[in-house]
Symmetry: C2
Subunit: 199 residues, 2 copies
């Protein structure tokens, strides 16, 4: 069955959302056009507005309105520590943990030559400019514990040290609240190798 | 962490989509504003356009552009058979099966007094007007095989017969291609009770 043109275009457009296939897109379109027309109007408008207003922070590349993101603009934050993450969602996750008071740098991806993502796409030039200001004493590499994330962390650690700044990697180990029995071997090996002395 | 206003509004608006929670909404927003800005613009525009153009078919209540949906407007379809379904997605599913050439009537829900959904909300007045034209010889009740769907089918079968029109219910039984071992008891009981003689 062919949908009418406007309905078909909406279903196609909804498939641009991550994790949305043809069936979900159709379900979303019918929901928006039938039960949730007011919500649909709000969605269309807030999307247009966000596209117009939200850009990147000129310092850390986080998605934000205005030239600086709230973290970079906050004088209470410790500007001598820089935490490098892959995505804006990682910043949100670390902020939610409440355990970090420094600044961030968002790569917006990881090294992936096959997809054409090299140092330039990750803003390494901007990172070097930041490092050269001399304000940063330590860089924490918080890329994902995946193959690509590790490769990216390794590349960045060399770069950071070549600028005379200390680099560290977030700890790999058993998640808090988990059970050893269900933790995978690679994580367990990391947890054992990274054991810390009890005083 | 508080998102900037435009980003926060977009995340809230995305939660209106069925099956999208706070984490998915955030992931969608970051994706739309970073990797998929062109797609995001298309989504915002096609949603606004669909809201403006897509309404209900004046005959069968299907979502469509223009006064009549393609099925109702098609003179090749058999106007003497009317298939009553709960949602536009059911029309799409039946059309895809290729086994039906009649018309439809879309309830846009099922009887649910607790949610304030009575016969009026399901367009029963419009259905009675259709029945009174005398063109319809049989009504096929294809509401979902759920408690609410069965109650709605029962209510409609009485209504349809009170207008002197034959009513039938789609067959319940074992799905084609499935294995008996994994079919639930209720379905198996229906399949046995509804057995058909082999010639």
């Amino acid at each position: 069955m062919k949908h009418s043109p406007a309905l078909g275009s909406l279903i196609d457009a909804l498939r641009a959302l991550p994790g949305v296939g043809p069936k979900s897109a159709q379900r979303m379109a019918f929901h928006l056009l039938h039960e949730a027309r007011a919500d649909a109007r709000v969605l269309s408008q807030s999307l247009a507005q966000a596209l117009e207003r939200v850009g990147r922070c000129s310092r850390c590349r986080m998605l934000t309105e205005g030239p600086l993101c709230p973290t970079c603009a906050n004088p209470q934050r410790d500007a001598s520590t820089l935490c490098i993450v892959e995505s804006p969602a990682d910043v949100v996750a670390i902020e939610r943990s409440g355990g970090y008071r420094g600044h961030y740098f968002v790569l917006m991806g990881h090294l992936s030559p096959i997809d054409g993502v090299g140092p330039e796409q990750l803003g390494v030039g901007e990172l070097e400019t930041l490092l050269d200001t001399g304000a940063i004493k330590e860089v924490i590499l918080a890329t994902n514990p995946t193959v690509e994330g590790e490769v990216t962390a390794h590349f960045l650690s060399e770069l950071v040290r070549s600028h005379g700044v200390a680099a560290s990697r977030i700890a790999h180990g058993v998640p808090v609240g988990g059970e050893l029995e269900y933790v995978d071997g690679g994580t367990l090996a990391h947890a054992l190798a990274g054991r810390q002395a009890l005083s």
